[in-house]
Structures are given as structure tokens and as C-alpha cells.
């Protein structure tokens, strides 16, 4: 065991945790509002990666500026996805919506492998690094964390300080009652789905500035998002951020004590255990 590695690994894990949390927030928001588990989450994250990459390589736009376009793209894609795949079965049992979103997953992966192949891509970013002793912090990671925090804060303000945000929370609480209060629930559902996809794509864009990726790369983050969402409580966006940080830290720290290969066992083990013992998540969703 290497104590010197403890602090750097913890910092590294913590920073990644914010980005994971952002991805998971997209998943949990959709579940919280409409009780749909979006099985197209991974491919959507991968689309975010490719969107930032392509905007960068085709138009020479800085990846961080490209993220703004990704926000708009994600929102649009999400709303389209909602009306194509989800709206018709929104009141059907879980199985139906799981399969409906999974069919979108297959379509994105199917088209994606044809268009982008599975060759790994990477965005060449170098923002320098801060060094003190054994600790090295990459500039790209710092920016990723800052953006993740900014987007989270934006989401929070939107949900709690705007009228539309309030209606989203109302629909999440009780759709029928919200409808009786004159809220256009279809619009709210579509918007929430759009925001969920937007968050997933944004996190994908951020991940793309840190690691190399392929169209299939989203799958890993989809599974991580499931773990995080369960940690934080399904349907609880703040819980997702905390869950993300917990998972990031856990990943950073466990690699010091055991081979990297064992990390997923710990992750999924915790995931199943929490589902069994405390399905509302560690932080007790409302």
C-alpha cells in the first residue's frame, strides 16, 4: 500500500466524481419526473463526446465553446426522443419504457458504429497542470469540474427558482394533480426528458476532453450512472451529484488497495446491496 498515492488518487477520483455525477443527474432527473429508466443513456453520453469532437475538428471550435452547442443539441435530441419513443408508452408498465428506450440505444449504437466506426478518438487538449509535490492536477480536469458545478447550479436554479422548474417538480410529485392545476404535462415531460439528455450529453462532452473514446464508450458511464443514481436515490438530482463524488472517491481510493480489476466488483456489489437494503438511496430521497 502506498500512502503517498492516497492524496493524489483521492483528488483525482473526487474530480472525476463531479463529471460522473453530472451524467447520473440526467438519468435520475428523467426517472424522477416520469418513472422511466433511460436505457439509451450510454449512447447519448457517447453522442455528447462525438458532438464536441466533431464541432472541434470540423469547425475548429474550442471544445468548451462546443459544449454550448451540445447543450442545445442535447435538449433538442431529448425532446425528439421523448415524442418518438417515450410519449406513447409513458403510462405503460416499466418493461415497455425500458424496451422503448433500449430500442433507441440500439439505433444510436447501430448508426454510430456505421458513421464513426469503433476507432478510438481523442480530443487533444492541454491546459497545463498544477504541481505540488506528488500531486499533479491536470487543467482539463479542473475545468471539467468547474463546468460540472456550473451546470449543476444552473439546473438547481432552474428547478427551484423558475416557474417552469416549479412545474417540472410538480409533475414529478404528482402528474395528475399537476395536470388539474393547468400544467401542460406533456410539455413538461418532453422538456424534462430533453434536460436529462442534455445533461448526459454535456457530461459526455466533458469526459471527451479527459479520455479517449469510441461510440461504445458510453456503456461504462451508463453503468456508473446506474450505481450513482442508486447511491443517491433514484429520482434525486442532488443525490446524484453526491453519489457521483462518492463513486469517484471510491474508485480513486480502491485502486490503491487492490488491483484495478476488482473495482467494478466493489461498485456493483455496493449497487446491488444498496438496492436491497435502502432502495431510496443513501441520502433518503423525498
Amino acid at each position: 500500500m502506498n500512502i503517498d498515492a492516497l492524496v493524489p488518487s483521492a483528488i483525482d477520483g473526487l474530480m472525476l466524481g463531479f463529471v460522473y455525477g453530472l451524467a447520473a443527474m440526467g438519468l435520475t432527473l428523467i426517472f424522477g419526473v416520469m418513472r422511466v429508466i433511460n436505457l439509451a443513456h450510454g449512447p447519448v453520453i457517447a453522442l455528447g463526446m462525438f458532438a464536441v469532437y466533431l464541432i472541434g475538428t470540423q469547425f475548429g471550435v474550442n471544445p468548451y465553446l462546443g459544449l454550448i452547442a451540445v447543450l442545445v443539441l442535447g435538449l433538442t435530441l431529448g425532446i425528439v426522443m421523448y415524442f418518438v419513443a417515450v410519449h406513447r408508452v409513458i403510462n405503460a408498465p416499466e418493461l415497455t419504457t425500458l424496451l422503448a428506450t433500449f430500442s433507441v440505444n440500439l439505433m444510436i449504437i447501430g448508426l454510430g458504429t456505421v458513421v464513426f466506426t469503433t476507432t478510438p478518438r481523442a480530443i487533444d487538449m492541454d491546459l497545463g497542470a498544477f504541481r505540488t509535490g506528488a500531486i499533479t492536477i491536470l487543467g482539463t480536469k479542473v475545468v471539467a469540474v468547474l463546468i460540472a458545478i456550473a451546470v449543476t447550479a444552473g439546473l438547481y436554479l432552474f428547478l427551484y427558482r423558475t416557474r417552469v422548474g416549479k412545474s417540472i417538480r410538480a409533475v414529478a410529485n404528482n402528474r395528475a394533480a399537476a395536470e388539474l392545476m393547468g400544467i401542460n404535462t406533456t410539455g413538461v415531460l418532453a422538456l424534462s426528458f430533453g434536460i436529462g439528455i442534455m445533461l448526459a450529453m454535456t457530461s459526455g462532452g466533458l469526459i471527451a476532453t479527459l479520455f479517449s473514446f469510441t461510440i461504445l464508450a458510453g456503456g461504462v458511464y451508463e453503468l456508473k450512472s446506474f450505481v450513482i443514481v442508486v447511491l443517491g436515490g433514484l429520482g434525486n438530482p442532488t443525490g446524484a451529484l453526491v453519489g457521483g463524488i462518492v463513486l469517484g472517491l471510491l474508485e480513486g481510493l480502491t485502486t490503491i488497495f487492490m488491483p484495478v480489476g476488482w473495482v467494478p466488483i466493489i461498485e456493483y456489489g455496493i449497487f446491488v446491496l444498496i438496492l436491497l437494503i435502502r432502495p431510496t438511496g443513501l441520502f433518503g430521497a423525498r
Binding site: 429508466i37 422503448a100 430500442s103 447501430g110 458504429t113 436491497l276
Partner: protein
């Protein structure tokens, strides 16, 4: 009279499967045998998923975990202890059932989406465990050398042997699926599917019923896994615990008709034929996943009952015969 109808339906279904399964034997065609092997394996997988998903209403997304575990158990026994293949396969089936039984007691308390997520988590946990588990060969997996097949009359005969085995298991699976549906046990499962709380009030012990159904639905995929990897001669964590194949199984059940006996069979055959067509067709081969997704979406949105369910709705006469 009325009670003989379902029985004759079962015999007819089994007869059709046997008749089709005999073709490659009669014309001695290895390529047709391979096609049918895969199709029958998918029939087993889909029918098993149907027991827990179609009858009981619990969507097991990670059902492939039993296929993989069965494969690994049997492979391990055959490789290290020279256990005969049939014994090893049966042992792996029992092992998977026991595993499902123990796992089911806590996991089946979860309902709906939580259960579906947990099964994904279990599959991934087991996959990462096996990837790191040295007795099972870790990430590299295990492989036979050809001497193993000598006990079955050489590699060529072993392929035929595996084919007979999969035919037998497919027949048993379909029979079991039918018997469960027609039994009091099956009625209990369907009552749980419709409304678990009401079923409980009516005197059904949901935990016992669900756990038993889960154990049954784990048995057959484990056998299929044992046979598949015996034939393959090599087993690795990736192909053994492929989540995608699990979800394809769900697609087949939905395509054919959820909760019916023939549905998963029809679904498996149609899906496999379609996939084979798409992959071999130069125009579609790269797009086959996209087309599969589109097909699934259309079924989910517009034909939730699947082929068999749709037939039953449209042709009242069939309702009495088609299960």
C-alpha cells in the same frame, strides 16, 4: 374434451420442433445444424426469460448471467475433473438454480424498475468477478484441448452430440414452460403479475412463488450455456455474460408474445432469421443493430402483444388452441 386441447397443442409444438430438428440429421448438413443450434439456444433463453418476465411480470434484464455461470461451471468441471459432459451440464443447471434461489430471496423483494436494475447489476458484478477469478482463467477464460472431445468420439461427433443435447433441452424447456403455465403454480405467478398484493390476499405466498419461478428460469439457460461453451471449446467472460444477448432475449419474448408458450419460440425464430438475413445482406449488414432497434420500437409502441398475442386477439378460434 376441453382439457385435452392444451395437451394436444403441446404435442403438436414438440412434434414440429422435433421434425425441424431432424432435418440436418437426415441430410447431414453441418451448416443447417449450426443455424438450428443457435435458434434452439435462443428458444431456450427466450422461453426461460418468459417464465419470470411473461408469467410473473418481473423483468430480468441480466438473465444471461445464468447462461454464463452455467457455461463456466460445466466447463470448469469438464476441464479440471474430467466430468462427463451430461453430468457437468446437469450439475451446472442445478448450481444455477440454487444460485438463483438464494439470490432471488432478497432480490425479488424489489419491484418493477428496481428489480430490472438489480439484475443488470448482478450480471455486471458476476462478470467482473469472473474476469478476476483465477480458477476460471480470469480475463483470458478457459479452453479445451481437443483431447477432451475424444470421450465423445472426436471433435466432429462432439458437435453433433451438442446438437442433440440442445434439441433435448429445448424440448424440455418448452414442456416446462407449458406445464408451468397450465399448473396452479403458473396461475399463482400470473396472479402475482397482475397484482401482487391482491394475490397475497388470496393466499398466494409471493416470495415462494417468485423465487421458485426464478430458479426454474435459471435452470435452462445454464444448460444452454453449458452446451454452447462445450461446443465452442473456449469460454471468456465477455461472451459468457453479454448483456446485449440478454436484452435480445427480452426482444424475442416481446416480438413473439409475452406470457404465451409459443410466443418466445416464434420470437426467437423470427428474430434469429431476421438477424441472419440482415447480417448476410450486403446492404444491411452494417445497419443490422439499427434495424433491430427500429423493429423493437415499432413492436413496443404499436404491437405490445407480440405476434402470438396479436393472433389470439384477432382470431378468436385460435384462442382455444394457441397457448
Amino acid at each position: 374434451m376441453k382439457s385435452t386441447r392444451p395437451q394436444s397443442f403441446l404435442w403438436l409444438t414438440l412434434l414440429i420442433i422435433v421434425a425441424i430438428a431432424l432435418i440436418p440429421i437426415l441430410i447431414d448438413s453441418a451448416s443447417l445444424r449450426e443455424d438450428l443450434f443457435l435458434t434452439l439456444m435462443l428458444v431456450i433463453l427466450a422461453s426461460s426469460i418468459n417464465i419470470i418476465m411473461g408469467y410473473t411480470g418481473y423483468v430480468s434484464f441480466g438473465h444471461i448471467v445464468f447462461f454464463g455461470l452455467g457455461g463456466y461451471f460445466a466447463f470448469f468441471l469438464m476441464l479440471n475433473y474430467q466430468v462427463h459432459f451430461v453430468l457437468a451440464a446437469l450439475a451446472s443447471g442445478v448450481g444455477a438454480s440454487v444460485f438463483a434461489f438464494l439470490l432471488g430471496i432478497p432480490v425479488l423483494r424489489l419491484r418493477g424498475a428496481y428489480f430490472a436494475l438489480a439484475t443488470i447489476g448482478i450480471n455486471e458484478a458476476v462478470r467482473s468477478f469472473v474476469t478476476n477469478f483465477e480458477p476460471f482463467g480470469g480475463a483470458v477464460g478457459m479452453f479445451f484441448n481437443y483431447a477432451v472431445y475424444d470421450a465423445y468420439g472426436g471433435a466432429r461427433n462432439a458437435l453433433w452430440f451438442a446438437y442433440y443435447a440442445i434439441v433435448v433441452v429445448a424440448l424440455v424447456t418448452v414442456t416446462a414452460s407449458f406445464l408451468i403455465k397450465k399448473s396452479k403454480f403458473g396461475l399463482g405467478l400470473m396472479a402475482i403479475r397482475e397484482d401482487q398484493d391482491t394475490a397475497q390476499v388470496l393466499g398466494i405466498d409471493p416470495t415462494r412463488y417468485k423465487v421458485l419461478a426464478y430458479a426454474c428460469s435459471a435452470f435452462f439457460p445454464a444448460l444452454a450455456g453449458a452446451i454452447f461453451f462445450f461446443k465452442n471449446g473456449i469460454i471468456e467472460p465477455g461472451p459468457a455474460f453479454a448483456l446485449l444477448r440478454s436484452i435480445e432475449g427480452l426482444v424475442m419474448v416481446m416480438l413473439g408474445g409475452y406470457g404465451t408458450v409459443t410466443g418466445p419460440i416464434v420470437g426467437a425464430v423470427v428474430y434469429e432469421r431476421l438477424r441472419a438475413f440482415l447480417i448476410t445482406n450486403p446492404n444491411f449488414s452494417s445497419l443490422h443493430l439499427f434495424i433491430a432497434g427500429l423493429l423493437l420500437l415499432v413492436i413496443v409502441l404499436f404491437a405490445t402483444a407480440g405476434v402470438v398475442g396479436w393472433l389470439r386477439q384477432r382470431v378468436p378460434l385460435l384462442r382455444r388452441y394457441l397457448e
